[in-house]
Amino acid sequence: MLNKLVVENLKHRPVRTFLSVLAIGVEVTMMLTLVGLSEGMLEDSARRARGVGADIIIRAPGTSLISLSSASMPEKLMEFFAAQPHVTLAGGTVVYPIGGVSTITGIDLDEFNRMSGGFRYLAGGPFREPHDIIVDEFYAAQNKLMVGSTVNLMNRDWRVCGVVEPGKLARIVIPRTTLQDLAGATGKLSQIFLKLDSPANTAQVLAALKEKLPDYQMYSIEELTSLYSVSNVPGLSAFIGVIIGLSIVVGFLVVFLSMYTAVLERTREVGVLKALGASPAYVLNIICRETVLLALAGSAVGVALTYGSRWAVMTLAPASLTQKIVPEWWPIAAFIAVFGALAGALYPAWKAAQQDAIEALSYE
C-alpha cells in the first residue's frame, strides 16, 4: 500500500519527478563518466605500451613512469642495453607534449618495426620525408585527416604519410631525429624499450640491469601496464573524490528542493494521514521511500546516460579521450546517489513528520 502511494505521488507530479530523476541521473553520469574516462585512458595507454612488443621499459632517473617525461637519456645507452645478455633488440623513443594529455612520439621506424612487427597501415605508408607524420585512425578521424593532409603541430606543418590501426605505442609518430632536433634534445631519448630472446628471462635481465644502473626506472611491460591505475596517477584519486563530493552536493540540493516543495504541497495530505493515525515514522517512511525510488531511477538513467557520454567522447574526441563503461562502479554510484538523496530528503521528511495535524488540515 505504501509503495503504491509513493509511486502514485511520483506520478502525480511528472515534471518534478522527471527533473529530479534527470538531475540525479546527471550526478551519476558525472561520476561514471569521470571514472570511465580515467580507467579508459589508462587502459588505452597500457594497451599501446603492450603494442610496442617489448619486454622491458627504461626511463631516466627521477622521471615518472606514467606521466609525460622529457628526453634526458643519452642515445648511446641503447648500445649498452643491446649488449646485455638475452637482449635481442633495444629501441628508443622521444616523447614530446603537445597540449593536454596528448603527446607526439619520435621513433626510428625500422627499429620500431623490428620490435613491434610494424604498424598496420589503413592508408598510406612509412615516412618518406623528415616532416612526414603517421597518425592512428582515431586521431585522423578526430582531426579529419587523410594521407596527404597537412597538420600543424609544434608550430610547423607536417604531411600525413600514413594512417594506422590504433593500439601501438602512440597516436602521433614522427621520425625520431626530427623530433630530437625540434625539441632541442639531439641524441637524447625519453624511454628505451628492450626486447628479449624470451619473455621468461625478463626478471633475470631486470635484476641484472638494476644492479648495473640502480638509479634508472626499469620495469617489465607487465609491471608497467599494472601501474596504469587510478591510484598510481598523482592527484587523480583526489580529483575523482572531489567530483564525487560535488555529485553528492548536487544530488543533495536537487532532492532537498524537490522534497521540500513536495512536502509543502502535501501539507494537507500529511495532516490527513496523521488524522488517520499515521505516526511520524510512517510519514518519514513515505518520504524516504519516495527519495530512494527517485535516486534508484536516477541511477538507472545515469547509467544509460553514460553510454551516451561514451558515444559522444568516442565520436567527437576518440584520439584525446577514451571512455570505458565501468559496471563495477554502477552500484557504488547508485549508493552515493541514494546517500546524497536521503541526506537531501532528511530535513523535508523531518519537517513533514513533525507537522502539526491540525495546522496541516487547515492548510490551503
Binding site: 500500500m1 505504501l2 503504491k4 502511494l5 502514485e8 505521488n9 506520478k11 502525480h12 494537507r268 495530505e269 495532516g271 490527513v272 494521514l273 496523521k274 488524522a275 488517520l276 493515525g277 499515521a278 505516526s279 510512517y282 495535524a357 491540525i358 488540515l361
Partner: protein, 226 residues
C-alpha cells in the same frame, strides 16, 4: 440508538492556545457524556469551540486541563504515541473538504486507513455491505478528481469507519455539498448510526442537518450551553 454504555465522558475540559503573547481560551470547561450508539449534532457559532473539542476528542491535541475519556481511556494522560494509536482505532474523521488523498483511487483511500491501522488487506463481507450502503461500490476505482462532491464525501465516510472506530467525528460533512447531496450524506450517517450502532458526533451550522441527529448539543463561548 443509545444503549447506555458511556463512550465519551468529558468534565471541565479546557483548552488554552498561546497566540503570540496572548492566551486564547478556546474551551472554558466543557462537560459532556456520550453513550454508545448516539448520533449527536454539535452546533454553535464560529469560535464557540466546536472544532477544538473535536480535535481533542480525536486525539489531535491534548486538553490543557479537565478530564476527558473515550471508553475509560484518559486522553489527557496520553502521550503523542498513545493519541496516534487512538486515531488509528477509536476515532474516525470526516471533514468538510473530504480530504481524500488525490493521488489514490477511492479504494486505495479506504485501504490506506486499514494499512495505517495495521489491518491486513482484503475487505470483509460486512464492510462490503457498508460500501453498498454508501453507494460507492461502482466508483472505487476512480480517483477523487473523477468523483462528485457527494461521492467523495461518501468515500471519506467509508474511510472513516473502515476500522470500526468507537466514534465518528464529522466536521461540517455537508458544508461543501448542495442540498441534494447533503441529504444523501446525512441519510447515510443516520443509517450507519441505526444499522451499525455507530456513535457519531457531527458539527454543523445548518439546523436542518442538525435535525438528523437524535440529540443536539449547543456550544457557546467554549462551553456546552445546555
Amino acid at each position: 440508538m443509545s444503549n447506555g454504555e458511556l463512550v465519551i465522558r468529558a468534565r471541565d475540559v479546557r483548552k488554552v492556545f498561546r497566540v503570540g503573547d496572548v492566551d486564547v481560551h478556546a474551551l472554558r470547561g466543557v462537560d459532556l457524556d456520550v453513550a454508545r450508539g448516539e448520533f449527536i449534532s454539535v452546533i454553535g457559532p464560529s469560535g464557540s469551540g466546536k472544532s477544538t473539542f473535536f480535535h481533542i476528542l480525536g486525539g489531535l491535541t491534548p486538553p490543557t486541563s479537565g478530564s476527558i475519556s473515550i471508553h475509560g481511556k484518559d486522553l489527557r494522560a496520553m502521550s503523542e504515541a498513545d493519541r496516534t494509536e487512538l486515531r488509528k482505532k477509536e476515532v474516525g474523521f470526516v471533514f468538510q473538504k473530504y480530504n481524500l488523498l488525490p493521488t489514490l483511487t477511492a479504494a486505495d483511500n479506504i485501504a490506506i486507513a486499514r494499512h495505517i491501522a495495521g489491518v491486513k488487506d482484503g475487505g470483509d463481507r460486512k464492510f462490503q455491505e457498508v460500501l453498498d450502503l454508501l453507494g460507492i461500490s461502482h466508483r472505487l476505482s476512480h480517483k477523487p478528481r473523477a468523483l462528485s462532491g457527494g461521492e467523495q464525501q461518501r468515500v471519506a465516510i467509508a474511510r472513516a469507519i473502515v476500522n470500526r472506530p468507537s466514534i465518528l467525528l464529522a466536521d461540517e460533512p455537508t458544508g461543501n455539498l448542495d442540498t441534494e447531496n447533503s441529504a444523501v450524506v446525512l441519510e447515510l450517517l443516520r443509517d450507519l448510526n441505526r444499522r451499525l450502532s455507530q456513535t457519531i458526533l457531527m458539527i454543523t451550522h445548518n439546523p436542518e442537518a442538525a435535525a438528523y441527529a437524535a440529540r443536539i448539543v449547543r456550544m457557546r463561548d467554549g462551553r456546552v450551553a445546555d
